[in-house]
Subunit: 403 residues, 2 copies
C-alpha cells in the first residue's frame, strides 16, 4: 500500500497555509514530498496554535506525511543544495511546489537552467506578483461586508483562510496536470496561482460578478440565512442550536413534515398565491417560513428535534464547539477511517487526519509530520547521492542540519 | 493552444457547487468535460442568483468550458445513454466526476461492469454516505461559534461554501491522481470524498484539533483579529475601512514605520518587558497594538493611509463591495489575464474568469458555459458514434434534448 501517487517526487519550498497544504495533499496520496526549510525553521515554524512549550500544532498539521530537510538558505552552498534537490533527475521528479519568490534563486528561469523540463507550481499574492494575503484578498472581494447579522454596522472577517486553502489545492492540481502533460510532451511548465485570482474566479463561479454586472445588485447581508434557498439557525426550547436547510423541494417537504407545520405552510402559500416550489421561492419566503418554524422550535426540545429530523431525513447539523465535536461526533474520531491517533513528536498523541480522498485500497493511513530536519541526512544521501563523509561535513559546518 | 489536459475526457453528473467546480477546474485546463443533466435541467439549473428573466448566473458560473448533454434520466433509455458516455472507450476517457448517488445506476459497482478500469471521483456528504451540506457541516465543525464580534450572542454562518469549494478541487485532484495511476497500472479506482471529511481534515491541518486535544483550549471568538499574528480592520479618519496584517516581524516593522508609531511600540515593548518579535508576540499584544494604530487611523485620511502603506509595502487590503471591486480594482477586470468579457447566452456580456492556474502558453482564454443540451447531438455522434437518424429518433421521443 503506497498511495495513488507512489513514485512521484515533489520538492516543496513553502511557509504558512497554501503551499504546505498543496504539498500535503500530494504527500497524503503517496507522493514523496520533501519540504526544505531554513535551519531553525521557516516563518511558519512557530505559528499558533502552539503547545504549552511552544511546538506548533499548525506546522504539525500542515506537513503530515512529508520528509523534512533543513538547510542554511542564507549560504550559497545551502541554496545550491536546495536547487540540486528541486532539479534532481528522474522522470517522476523535477517538480517544485512553492510560495518562495519568483525572482532570485527560486525563480523559474534560474532553476530551469539546471533542468529544462522542470515543473514549478507557485502561489503568489496578486497576478502581477505583488504581495497579498488571504485576509487582505478577502476584504477586497466583498465577503466581510455581507457576513454577519443584518444590523451589524461593521465588517466580519472569516476565521477560515478559504483562499489559502483553495490556492493550495489548486497548486496540487497544477502539479498533477503539468506532470500529465510532461509525460506526453517532455515539456516542463512554470505555473503561477495568484491568491487574488483564486478568490476572483470563485466570486465569478458563484454568480456574484454577474449579480452586479448584469442585475445591478450588490448583495446585502442576509444574516444567517443561506442565500438562494432555505436555511438558517434555530434555537430549540431547551437552548440547543441547529442549522436547518432545504435546498430542494423534496428537502423542504421533509422539513415541513418533520416539524408538522404543513397547515401553516399551506396557509402561507395561500397568502402568497403560489406554491413554494423552487429554491428561489423558498428564499423569497424565508422570513415567513422561519417564523413558522421558530414557533415549533420554541416548543420542542433538542432531543425531539433530532428525532423528528432524522426520522424525516431533514438536512440539518448541530452547532457545536470543536470540543463538543471531538467528544460526541463519531465523524471526528477513529471510527472514521479518515482519522487515527498518531504520536506526533514533541506534541504527543494527536487525532490525525489522512487524505480526505478515500481511494479504497490505496488509502494511506494517517501519518505524522516530520521533525524539522528529520530527513536531512537521508535526503542528501538518497536524492543527491552524497557520501556519509560529505554529509558529515555539511552538518558540521551548519550548511545542513538534522532534527 | 489546447490546455495542459488536452485529450482527457471526463463525464460529469452533478449539481450545485462541489462537483461542478471540480469538473470546471479540469475543463478550464483543457479537458473535455461533458456534463449530463436531466432534460429541463438538474436541481441547480435555476439556482440563485438569477437574471430578471430567471437565467441562473450561478449555473453559468460553475459550468464554464464544459459541453452539455440533456437526457431523460427517468427513462431507462436515457440512463443507458449516460452510462454509455461514462464508460465509453479510450485511454484518456472513462472518468466520472459526480455527486450522484452511490447506489443504483450511477454506483461504481454497476458502472464498472461496463468498463473495468473506470475512474470515479464522487463527492458524498458524510463518510458513511449519509447526506450533509456545506452549511450543516460548517455548523458541526465549530467555525460559526468563533466567527463575528466577540460580544455577539449567536452564531455567524459563512457566506462562502468553503467545504463545497474545497471538495470540488479535491475531486479534481482525485481524477488526476487516479488517471496517473491508471496510466501506470491499468487499474481504475472508486474514489470518494466526504464533505465532512474535507472540513475535518482542514480543522486538523490548521491545528484546531490539537488545540482542544493537547492544549485543552476551545478557541474563543477573537472578533476581526487574525488568529496567531497581527491583523484587524481599521477605519480611517474619513470613514474608509482597511484590513491590515503583519504575519512576520518584517511586515510588522514596515507597518510600524508606515504609521510612524515606532515610539509608541517601543514604549509598549518596554511595558511588556520583551520585544515584539514573533507572530505569537504580535497576537498576544494585539489589543495594545491596535489601540496605538487606531489613534493614527483616526487622524489619517484614506488616501494618506494608502500612500503610507504602499510606500512601506504594508500588507493591507481595502474592504469593498463587489460593485466597488468591479468599478475600481484592476484585478477584477480585463487588465487581469484571468478575465475576459464573454457573451453568455441568455445572460449577455459577462466578466468571465478562466482557470486561476496560469499555465503560461497553455493558458486557455476564459470560455462561457454551454446552454443546457447545447452539445447533445454532437456528443451522441462523436462519443457514442450514433447516426444522425438515430439521434433524431432520440430527440423526437424526448430521450435526449438539444438546447
Amino acid at each position: 500500500m503506497a498511495g495513488l501517487l507512489a513514485g512521484m517526487r515533489v520538492v516543496e519550498g513553502s511557509a504558512f497555509v497554501a503551499a504546505p497544504l498543496g504539498g500535503m495533499t500530494l504527500a497524503q496520496l503517496g507522493a514523496d514530498v520533501i519540504r526544505f526549510d531554513p535551519v531553525g525553521g521557516g516563518l511558519d515554524y512557530g505559528r499558533w496554535p502552539v503547545t504549552s512549550d511552544g511546538h506548533s500544532l499548525y506546522w504539525a498539521g500542515l506537513n503530515k506525511g512529508k520528509r523534512s530537510i533543513a538547510l542554511d538558505l542564507r549560504s550559497e552552498e545551502g541554496r545550491d543544495l536546495a536547487v540540486a534537490l528541486i532539479t534532481a533527475p528522474g522522470d517522476e521528479a523535477g517538480m517544485f511546489l512553492t510560495n518562495y519568490p519568483e525572482d532570485g534563486w527560486t525563480g523559474y528561469e534560474s532553476l530551469r537552467v539546471r533542468r529544462d523540463d522542470l515543473i514549478v507550481s507557485r502561489i503568489v499574492g496578486n497576478p502581477d506578483g505583488t504581495a497579498a494575503l488571504d485576509y487582505t484578498v478577502n476584504a477586497a472581494v466583498g465577503y466581510p461586508i455581507i457576513t454577519g447579522p443584518e444590523d451589524h454596522p461593521g465588517v466580519v472577517n472569516s476565521v477560515l483562510p478559504t483562499w489559502d486553502l483553495m490556492a493550495g489545492l489548486t497548486a496540487a492540481t497544477g502539479i498533477l496536470a503539468a506532470d500529465r502533460h510532461r509525460a506526453r510532451s517532455g515539456e516542463g511548465r512554470n505555473i503561477r496561482i495568484a491568491l487574488a485570482d483564486v478568490a476572483l474566479a470563485t466570486l465569478g463561479a458563484l454568480g456574484q460578478i454577474g449579480e452586479v454586472q448584469v442585475n445591478d445588485v450588490d448583495r446585502p447581508r442576509y444574516g444567517n440565512y443561506l442565500y438562494g434557498a432555505f436555511g438558517r439557525d434555530f434555537v430549540t426550547a431547551d437552548g440547543g442550536r441547529v442549522m436547518v436547510t432545504a435546498i430542494t423541494a423534496g428537502q423542504f417537504r421533509r422539513l415541513v413534515e418533520a416539524a408538522g407545520v404543513g397547515d401553516e405552510i399551506a396557509a402561507l402559500e395561500g397568502r402568497r398565491g403560489t406554491p413554494l416550489r423552487s429554491d428561489g421561492d423558498l428564499f423569497e419566503a424565508r422570513e415567513e417560513i422561519a417564523g413558522i418554524l421558530e414557533r415549533w422550535f420554541s416548543m420542542t426540545g433538542y432531543a425531539e428535534v433530532v428525532r423528528c429530523f432524522d426520522e424525516h431525513r431533514v438536512l440539518w447539523g448541530p452547532y457545536q464547539t470543536v470540543r463538543r465535536l471531538l467528544e460526541s461526533d463519531a465523524r471526528a474520531g477513529t471510527a472514521n477511517p479518515l482519522f487515527a491517533e498518531v504520536d506526533q513528536p514533541d506534541i504527543g498523541s494527536l487525532l490525525t487526519a489522512g487524505s480526505p480522498l478515500d481511494t479504497g485500497r490505496d488509502r494511506l493511513p494517517p501519518r505524522r509530520a516530520p521533525r524539522l530536519g528529520e530527513h536531512t541526512e537521508e535526503v542528501l544521501a538518497e536524492v543527491l547521492g552524497l557520501a556519509p563523509a560529505e554529509i558529515g561535513r555539511l552538518l558540521d559546518r551548519g550548511v545542513a542540519a538534522g532534527a
